[in-house]
């Protein structure tokens, strides 16, 4: 039961942690009162079945909570697990190195060398502040673009990891043209001749996420979310109420399965029961396998086929009626 106690339980997990607490208490008394054994066994069975039913009936708002879990693996956690010798590259070459956007050279093995780029959240207060809570400034998008161009020049496939509440809404960010920084990435990514695979690992927050998400193949982790605006933002604008976050999350269809059904993404990477943070090692392994499998298909295409494939993918997105 240690894992449940160690990690911060989410709101919907509370009944589970109550049960875990009871089990721990019983276990402590077991030495003196061996007759508690059947009760303990019963509680443990209850725990297992409750856990299973909780995680198989997650509401969008619950997945949102898992996607934002403070112990969820972040971009650097994946990079380090995929290639412990990865070489980080820094800077936008115009005076800034945005820590909310990280990238570098990764060897995924089997002769698959890639440029990997992703948004980075911080683990503790100091890190969070330095990464600006995973919200890049325009300079962060320029840094990503610089790395994309590096990949194009050297014919390296690109892997991007998306986990951001969105592009930073700030004074300097506006003055330095946040909107154009995103737009130019969308434009340039769409023209690349090297394959791009994007994975939404946590929060896919609007344009700030898409700015590194114009990929040939888009994957989402099982409990990750991807949306045009945060459910909080949507609730406050459309419902004019901060209490309607759950309704907004439901209406916008932000979960991996719903987005797969809408034809926007290409696959879902299964997470360990309870979420990626329960077993980051296994999650990283599953994500890598999914990426490698997509890339090994894409590298067979010519450069112009790769570009056409990506442009065609986004060209066909959208639904309307003619009448």
């Amino acid at each position: 039961m240690a894992e449940v106690k160690r990690q911060v339980p989410l709101e919907f997990e509370k009944p589970l942690s109550v049960l875990a607490q009871q089990i721990d208490n019983l276990e402590a008394q077991l030495q003196e009162q061996p007759d508690l054994e059947p009760e303990l066994r019963h509680l443990k069975e209850q725990y297992t079945s409750l856990r299973k039913s909780l995680y198989s009936n997650l509401r969008p708002i619950d997945r949102l909570a898992i996607a934002r879990h403070p112990e969820r693996p972040y971009t650097r956690d994946y990079f380090e697990r995929w290639d412990s010798q990865w070489i980080e590259l820094h800077g936008d070459r115009h005076g800034t190195d945005d820590s909310a956007m990280v990238g570098g050279l990764l060897d995924l093995g089997n002769d698959l060398k890639v440029i990997a780029v992703g948004t980075q959240k911080g683990r503790n207060i100091k890190e969070k502040q330095s990464c600006n809570f995973g919200m890049p400034q325009p300079e962060g998008y320029a840094k990503a673009l610089r790395l994309f161009k590096h990949a194009e020049k050297f014919g390296l496939p690109i892997v991007t990891l998306i986990d951001t509440p969105g592009a930073y809404p700030g004074l300097a960010a506006e003055e330095h043209n946040q909107a154009q920084a995103i737009a130019i990435n969308l434009l340039e990514l769409s023209g690349l001749t090297v394959p791009v695979v994007a994975v939404v690992t946590g929060e896919g927050g609007s344009g700030g996420a898409l700015a590194i998400g114009v990929a040939n193949r888009i994957l989402m982790l099982e409990h990750s979310v991807y949306s045009v605006i945060s459910p909080e933002g949507c609730a406050s604008i459309l419902w004019r109420s901060a209490d309607k976050v759950s309704d907004a999350a439901q209406s916008m269809k932000i979960t991996a399965r719903e987005i797969l059904e809408l034809g926007v993404i290409d696959g879902i990477i299964t997470e360990p029961l309870g979420g990626a943070h329960k077993d980051p090692e296994a999650t990283a392994k599953a994500a890598k396998a999914a990426i490698v499998s997509q890339l090994s298909e894409l590298v067979k295409l010519s450069g112009s086929e790769v570009r056409h494939d990506r442009q065609h993918k986004f060209r066909s997105m959208g639904k309307w009626r003619d009448q």
């Binding site: 592009a167 930073y168 809404p169 700030g170 004074l171 960010a173 506006e174 003055e175 330095h176 043209n177 946040q178 909107a179 154009q180 995103i182 737009a183 130019i184 969308l186 434009l187 340039e188 769409s190 023209g191 609007s206 344009g207 898409l210 700015a211 998400g213 114009v214 991807y226 949306s227 045009v228 605006i229 933002g233 949507c234 604008i237 459309l238 419902w239 309704d247 907004a248 209406s251 916008m252 269809k253 932000i254 987005i259 809408l262 926007v264 990506r310 442009q311 986004f314 060209r315 997105m317 959208g318 639904k319 309307w320 009626r321 003619d322 009448q323």
Partner: protein, 313 residues
């Protein structure tokens, strides 16, 4: 409504007043006649405002205008040929907030008099063939959903086919929340179409009008070869209120105005509405290709300088 109609209506009203119990002019009729300037608070006669291109004659405030008015102002009379006029939003998410998306669409059509947040087509501007897209803020706050994204992409493709300049006039609150992730993907779709257009070497002019924000600035609106803003137009990525809440400080009064953008290097120029068509024409003429690419390769490089001189005459 012109003056004649106005007098006729007044006469009608007076006759009615004589017959019936005294009745006030219905609010709608009153509002149709007069508009108060948002900036200087002067009361303006709507017919004057219209003939002044919806710019306040006292303080030069540029009113937000609808797509049909804008097309009338810019295109040579009778030359605008709309494309995809019948394309309408569907409801892919079956979205409901306090009201269903379907019902909101019907209300938006009624309120704005247009069927989507952008009108696209081809036209002549002082004789120049142009692909033109005009957003309409009155329809769903000019928000971009699947229809806006698809119409922009098709307009860009038409400009590629015709090898002609492209103009998009933006006025938008951002992406349309009711179409969720599909709206977000329109940012990529429109930008991707522009990538192909860039490679044709034709000119794309983006015009930013009051107001332009979010997903529209984060895609086609900020990708113009030349970007023009209308005086006083507010343009940005995030809204002022969101930024103030995030950074917990007051923003400068002129923050995100066209003039502020000009100062910060984000737009090429701020142009008064009554000079816009002339400026566009000048820009077209300056960028007009003299020779096709094929001809260019026939010119020996040694004679390039003299041919340039001849071209510039």
């Amino acid at each position: 409504m012109d003056l004649k109609d106005w007098f006729a209506k007044r006469r009608e009203r007076r006759e009615r007043e004589n017959l019936e119990v005294k009745q006030l002019l219905p609010t709608e009729d009153y509002c149709a006649l007069w508009k108060r300037c948002f900036q200087c608070r002067e009361l303006l006669y709507t017919r004057d405002l219209r003939s002044n291109l919806q710019v306040c004659p006292h303080c030069q405030y540029h009113f937000c205008i609808g797509a049909p008015d804008r097309i009338e102002q810019l295109c040579d009379p009778g030359t605008f040929e709309e494309i995809d006029a019948e394309m309408r939003s569907s409801d892919p998410l079956e979205f409901i907030d306090t009201e269903s998306y379907r019902k909101r669409q019907v209300a938006a059509e009624k309120k704005s008099g247009v069927v989507e947040a952008i009108m696209t087509g081809t036209c002549k501007m002082n004789g120049h063939l142009t692909a033109l897209g005009v957003m309409d803020f009155a329809f769903f706050g000019g928000s971009m959903g699947s229809v806006v994204g698809e119409k922009v992409a098709r307009l860009v493709e038409r400009a590629i086919e015709l090898s002609c300049p492209l103009i998009i006039i933006s006025s938008s609150g951002g992406a349309r929340m009711q179409e969720g992730i599909l709206s977000l993907m329109q940012l990529a779709k429109t930008s991707s179409a522009l990538k192909s257009y860039y490679e044709t070497g034709n000119l794309y002019i983006s015009i930013l009008s009051e107001p332009t924000f979010g997903g529209v600035t984060a895609s086609f609106a900020m990708l113009g070869d030349i970007i023009i803003a209308e005086p006083g137009a507010r343009v940005g990525f995030a809204g002022r209120r969101v930024i103030e809440q995030t950074i917990r400080q007051k923003l400068p009064a002129d923050f995100q105005t066209a003039e502020y953008l000009l100062k910060h290097g984000q737009v090429d120029m701020v142009i008064h509405r009554n000079e816009l068509k002339d400026m566009l024409t000048k820009l077209f003429e300056f960028h007009q290709k003299k020779n096709s690419d094929k001809d260019k390769t026939l010119v020996p490089s040694s004679s390039l300088s003299s041919s340039k001189k001849a071209g510039g005459k």
